[in-house]
């Protein structure tokens, strides 16, 4: 027990020099290389090639369907779905507002359910279907919720909007849009700092009352 290290946080308890998986991988690739040609290994270490080896081993495969398109990626286990969408797939419609699951700007659908993508590691959605704001419209034909947000001005700056719309669609699908009061409750995980809440409620009610398929 005494030899077991616990990781208490990103800046404590984790000593990358001695105990990390990365260093184990670096050393083992280095050892393999030394067994082959010592000269190459020294050069490899100097060029940080060992680093590149380790980086490859540290990544994990991730297959997911994003907006109807299969994606085959290699990701670090610590990468969030939000950062993978924004930084690796250039799907920047999904927004980062807090990175702590407190604002809802990063809301996407995973297998049809709304999820905070900042609290979801990429590797947790392996094999799942992801829909982001970019995948909501059918070609040029906007989703009824997108139309309703434009009509009722459900935004000002537009930054929380993709998350609001993804949440709004899910809110109706979940059966949580049966009254103004219920919509407000079930949309309260999505913060809008510009204060478009009444307009958002009006947009959702219009889509709900119109009986449109969402």
């Amino acid at each position: 027990m005494e030899s077991k290290k616990t990781c208490t946080g990103p800046d404590e308890g984790l000593d990358i020099k001695d105990s990390s998986r990365r260093n184990f991988l670096k050393q083992s690739t280095l050892l393999t290389a030394i067994a082959l040609t010592p000269g190459t290994a020294i050069k490899a270490a100097a060029d940080h090639v060992d680093e590149q080896f380790a980086a490859v081993f540290e990544k994990m495969p991730l297959k997911m369907e994003v907006n109807g398109k299969q994606q085959s990626l290699s990701v670090e286990p610590r990468s969030t779905l939000l950062d993978i969408l924004r930084e690796q797939l250039d799907l920047t419609g999904t927004k980062k507002g807090c990175d702590h699951g407190q604002c809802g700007a990063c809301t996407v659908h995973v297998d049809g359910h709304r999820v905070n993508s900042c609290l979801t590691l990429g590797i947790m959605v392996n094999g799942k279907k992801i829909t982001t704001i970019e995948g909501l419209a059918k070609g040029d034909q906007l989703h009824p919720m997108q139309e309703a947000f434009i009509k009722h001005d459900g935004f000002q700056c537009g930054y929380c909007t993709p998350g609001q719309i993804m949440s709004a669609v899910a809110c109706i699908r979940e059966g949580h849009a049966n009254s103004e009061h219920e919509i407000r409750e079930y949309m309260s995980g999505n913060i809008c700092r510009c204060g478009a809440y009444p307009n958002i409620v009006n947009a959702i009610q219009e889509v709900k009352d119109g009986g449109m398929k969402v």
């Binding site: 990103p10 800046d11 990358i16 020099k17 990365r22 980086a55 670090e76 610590r78 990468s79 950062d83 924004r86 930084e87 799907l91 920047t92 419609g93 927004k95 980062k96 507002g97 807090c98 990175d99 702590h100 407190q102 604002c103 982001t132 704001i133 970019e134 909501l136 906007l142 997108q146 947000f149 434009i150 009509k151 009722h152 001005d153 935004f155 000002q156 700056c157 537009g158 930054y159 909007t161 993709p162 719309i165 919509i183 407000r184 409750e185 949309m187 309260s188 913060i191 809008c192 700092r193 510009c194 204060g195 478009a196 809440y197 009444p198 307009n199 958002i200 409620v201 009006n202 947009a203």
Partner: protein
């Protein structure tokens, strides 16, 4: 354009939708962190963990060796920022903007002490966690009320007097009370972000969150001693700001330094916690108001004192006492404004800067006075209605605040209100009504518009102006559509880029008045150019495409520059607002529920009803946040914010907010600009916090004078 129209209360679907609505609902609108120049790298800042002192050592070795890390920048190795260096021979000014990575001094908790740059965001974040600093710690002070005696007057401002000083003391009816507005943080949903890239040794491009690309361009050119034209600033979409992007901040400079070091583009996105320490806030302000009145409710004297916090290294001033000088006709007014320097970052302008703080105190005190006079609060205000500017004696360019009072009172059902507090109960909740007003100067600055008519009949308008959310482009297109007589769909408005024609920074509720005037005049100039082609006798609004084809021209273009405020020397110019609120207060828990809101704006002619309504509704909701929940709390033992996230710093969520009715007097101002339009952003919030506090008193009999009005204070 100056149409005399009746007051309006648009619905959420009334009027033209935003020109950029489609981009915003499809995720295609790109904000500053969302560009991908080749070779993009990621920067993460490390903040100081002490509040005052100096760095004695900083260990960057582990960070530097961490996977993917390209550079760790600190004050020890950062390239010098030329504009930060003392000018040859000149003494270093005692106070000024914070200079990032300049030396070992620590002025506030969370101050950037290192920047870690890596090839991915995750690797930069991990690298940043490995930077360890040792400090020499000095005793810090972060608490304003305990240190108010150290206050000092800001340069050239601070005191004002007309008539007799402290005349309120001799009045038969008087109120004297203290009020607190705590530190409130803008917290726009978009985290402040910049991508910086050196295109060449002397050429810089940034994609940056800013309310003014031209202002940022000038700041960066000055700091890095570059020709202005060698700095390109792009800020096409801004995810809210409310004042937080009005100036250039240390993280922007840090990213630019970083890009210089790694010779690659660097993206730096602040964390939500950084947003509390890095981009300003509304400063904690203590106020004391004393008002005297005659038995029939005529004000005889107002004394207004305020002490607002600033940083130790820079003086930030705003005008919290201005509202007492200007809002009511009162012969004797004296005010005093002090700053208190604390070991915190510099505050900045936040929506309704000064006035939002001052109006909470003044409009609360006036409400208190109305109860001692046993006089309806609306009637009290009407009895002290200023027909001309009380400070300068100038006539107002326009003022229809009395109509606004009437509209709001009728709409909220003010006649249902009982003068006796805590006298109405419904379904177990105490019911109360409150009202309060606001004002803000109606400003206008110079702006330039390029307008180009093409052979397909489409009109392109260009301006460097930013849009942080109100719908600037939409309003500009509506102005041009009416002037040119062409449908809005035919008009494109390009903005948010420093290479475009000059526009002022978006702030102070002045964009529509400033840029709108330039659009209006550019359209007039363009039409005149067409008239010259056609010759005499042609129609004012011809078939532009046809004329171009007939003259074998690919397009016709004008660049029009318009000047700043007209008539300021003859008139006092303001926008006005009044907010009416109905609240429910739970007598067992102290919970306050906002039941109904009617906000009335006297902001001249309404150009774009849909976006104007949203702006007023949004301001009201910001004011509800200020009234009921917003407070950035420092643990003074450590000088550190303890609620620097959206779980602990409460802002209104959907469940907190009912339908809010926005009404507009909608009477054009004949002086300020050809559209007759006045600003709206600030007045939408100013006064709201007092309206809520006044309603809480009417409902519960509990007067809360230190915001926010949390249940514990209602129950105390």
């Amino acid at each position: 354009m100056k149409k005399a129209i009746d007051s309006i209360m648009p619905s959420s679907s009334a009027g033209m939708s935003r020109i950029d609505g489609r981009l915003k609902v499809t995720g295609a609108a790109k904000y500053s962190a969302e560009y991908t120049p080749a070779g993009l790298t990621y920067g993460v800042l490390v903040g100081s963990t002490i509040t005052k002192g100096s760095i004695t050592s900083i260990d960057t070795k582990a960070a530097g060796q961490a996977p993917g890390v390209l550079a760790v920048i600190t004050h020890l190795n950062a390239p010098k920022v030329p504009g930060d260096q003392p000018e040859g021979g000149k003494p270093v000014p005692p106070k000024g903007a914070f200079k990032v990575f300049y030396d070992d001094k620590i002025y506030y908790n969370g101050q950037p002490i290192a920047l870690v740059i890596a090839d991915t965001f995750e690797r930069a974040l991990f690298g940043a966690s490995l930077v360890k600093a040792q400090y020499h710690t000095d005793k810090h002070i972060t608490n304003l009320p305990d240190n108010r005696s150290n206050g000092f007057p800001p340069r050239g401002e601070g005191t004002y007097k007309r008539g007799t000083e402290d005349a309120w003391k001799a009045a038969p009816f008087k109120v004297e009370q203290e009020y607190i507005v705590p530190t409130v943080t803008h917290n726009p949903m978009e985290l402040h972000a910049i991508i910086a890239n050196w295109d060449a040794d002397n050429k810089l491009s940034v994609w940056d969150k800013t309310q003014g690309v031209k202002g940022t361009q000038e700041d960066l050119a000055h700091l890095f001693k570059l020709p202005v034209e060698n700095v390109q600033v792009h800020s096409q979409f801004v995810g809210g700001a409310f004042g937080s992007a009005l100036r250039t901040w240390p993280h922007e400079v840090a990213a630019i330094i970083g890009a210089k070091v790694v010779k690659k583009p660097v993206k730096l996105v602040l964390s939500r916690a950084d947003m509390f320490t890095s981009v300003g806030y509304r400063p904690f302000t203590w106020q004391k108001i004393a008002i005297g009145a005659t038995a029939d409710g005529k004000l005889t004297g107002i004394t207004h004192e305020a002490a607002g916090q600033t940083s130790s290294y820079e003086n930030f001033t705003e005008g919290p006492t201005g509202v007492s000088q200007n809002l009511y006709a009162c012969p004797n007014v004296n005010t005093k404004y002090h700053l208190v320097a604390l070991d915190i970052a510099t505050p900045t302008w936040m929506r309704g800067p000064g006035e939002a703080t001052g109006s909470f105190a003044l409009e609360s005190a006036l409400d208190e006075l109305s109860y001692s006079l046993k006089l309806d609060p609306v009637e009290l205000r009407l009895r002290n209605y200023a027909e001309k500017d009380p400070e300068s004696g100038k006539p107002f360019s326009s003022k229809f605040l009395n109509e606004a009072y009437q509209l709001g009172a009728d709409h909220i059902g003010w006649s249902e209100r009982k003068q006796e507090p805590a006298s109405v109960k419904k379904d177990g909740w105490l019911v109360g009504y409150g009202m309060a007003g606001g004002m803000f100067g109606a400003y206008r600055s110079g702006a330039t518009i390029r307008a180009k008519m093409n052979t397909d009949g489409s009109l392109l308008l260009q301006s460097a102006v930013s849009d942080i959310g109100p719908g600037t482009g939409t309003a500009m297109v509506l102005i041009a559509s009416e002037q040119m007589g062409i449908p809005a769909e035919k008009i494109r408005f390009e903005m948010g880029d420093s290479s475009l024609p000059n526009a002022p920074t978006q702030g102070g509720s002045a964009t529509t008045a400033s840029v709108g005037s330039a659009v209006y005049q550019a359209c007039a100039d363009l039409k005149e150019k067409f008239q010259k082609l056609i010759g005499n006798g042609g129609t004012d609004k011809p078939d532009y495409a046809k004329v171009l084809k007939e003259h074998n021209l690919p397009s016709l273009e004008v660049v029009t520059e318009t000047g700043g405020g007209n008539g300021m020397e003859k008139y006092a110019m303001n926008s006005w607002s009044v907010h009416f609120v109905k609240v429910l207060v739970n007598p067992a828990t102290g919970v306050v529920k906002i039941d109904k809101v009617a906000c009335v704006a006297d902001s001249g002619h309404i150009i774009s009803p849909k976006t104007a309504r949203s702006q007023v509704v949004g301001g009201a909701i910001g004011g509800i946040g200020m009234a009921l929940m917003e407070e950035s709390i420092i643990d003074h033992r450590y000088g550190r914010y303890i609620n620097n996230n959206f779980a602990d710093y409460h802002v209104p969520v959907n469940a907190d907010i009912p339908q809010i009715d926005a009404l507009f007097v909608n009477k054009p101002d004949p002086i300020i600009n050809p559209m007759g339009a006045k600003g709206m952003a600030e007045i939408a919030l100013i006064g709201m916090a007092a309206a809520v506090a006044n309603a809480v008193y009417n409902a519960s009999g509990k007067r809360v004078r230190d915001l926010p009005i949390t249940p514990d204070k209602v129950m105390a």
